[in-house]
Symmetry: C2
């Protein structure tokens, strides 16, 4: 039926999901999310102290999470606030669940 190159309706969301999954596919970024868990917002330095990585590296990882839409970013000058976008994260979980549903469904109906 439709290939993945169907740019009209399917490609954008798919790319969105894959970008979010890519953002989640790094241990450091998962750890960052854990650091931001519970809805509390952290500044960069907090995460840095938690992670044992260079500040610039952590900043990059945060940027990736923000660009993927998983983390919100309030650029206050001194203490930028990073905060989990819980809705976006839940949406990713739902997308993965839907994918699993699709892949595991018994196709007895029409084929």
């Amino acid at each position: 039926m439709n290939s993945i190159s169907d740019t009209s309706s399917c490609c954008a969301p798919v790319k969105d999901v894959t970008q979010k999954l890519a953002a989640l596919s790094h241990p450091a970024r998962l750890e960052i999310l854990r650091c931001l868990a519970g809805g509390r917002s952290c500044c960069c330095k907090e995460v840095v102290e938690h992670l044992d990585l260079a500040q610039s590296t952590v900043s990059q990882h945060l940027k990736i999470l923000v660009e993927a839409g998983l983390v919100r970013y309030a650029p206050e000058r001194q203490r930028s606030r990073y905060e989990i976008d819980q809705a976006a994260l839940a949406a990713v979980s739902a997308s993965v669940a839907a994918l699993v549903e699709t892949c595991c469904a018994v196709e007895g109906a029409n084929i």
Copy 2:
């Protein structure tokens, strides 16, 4: 509780999850999974025809999915069978759901 640097018990599963998420974070591989959906097994050529990519590229993507443990592989000579590992896929979904749960939980209870 445990940080990500806890190499004894926590690190291996984390890496396992991130590897699976990385495998899922590419549109072509999602499309491959859709092609394998419903528990039906496909050979490489079927996927190639479905995907508009070179055969070698598809074979690589399949390999990544197999190495991540999301797809089972029965190397028959002429028509290798690729098949979704539904349990593994469900486990990924559960892991993501648990992550979201952790990240969105109100931190009153025990962490």
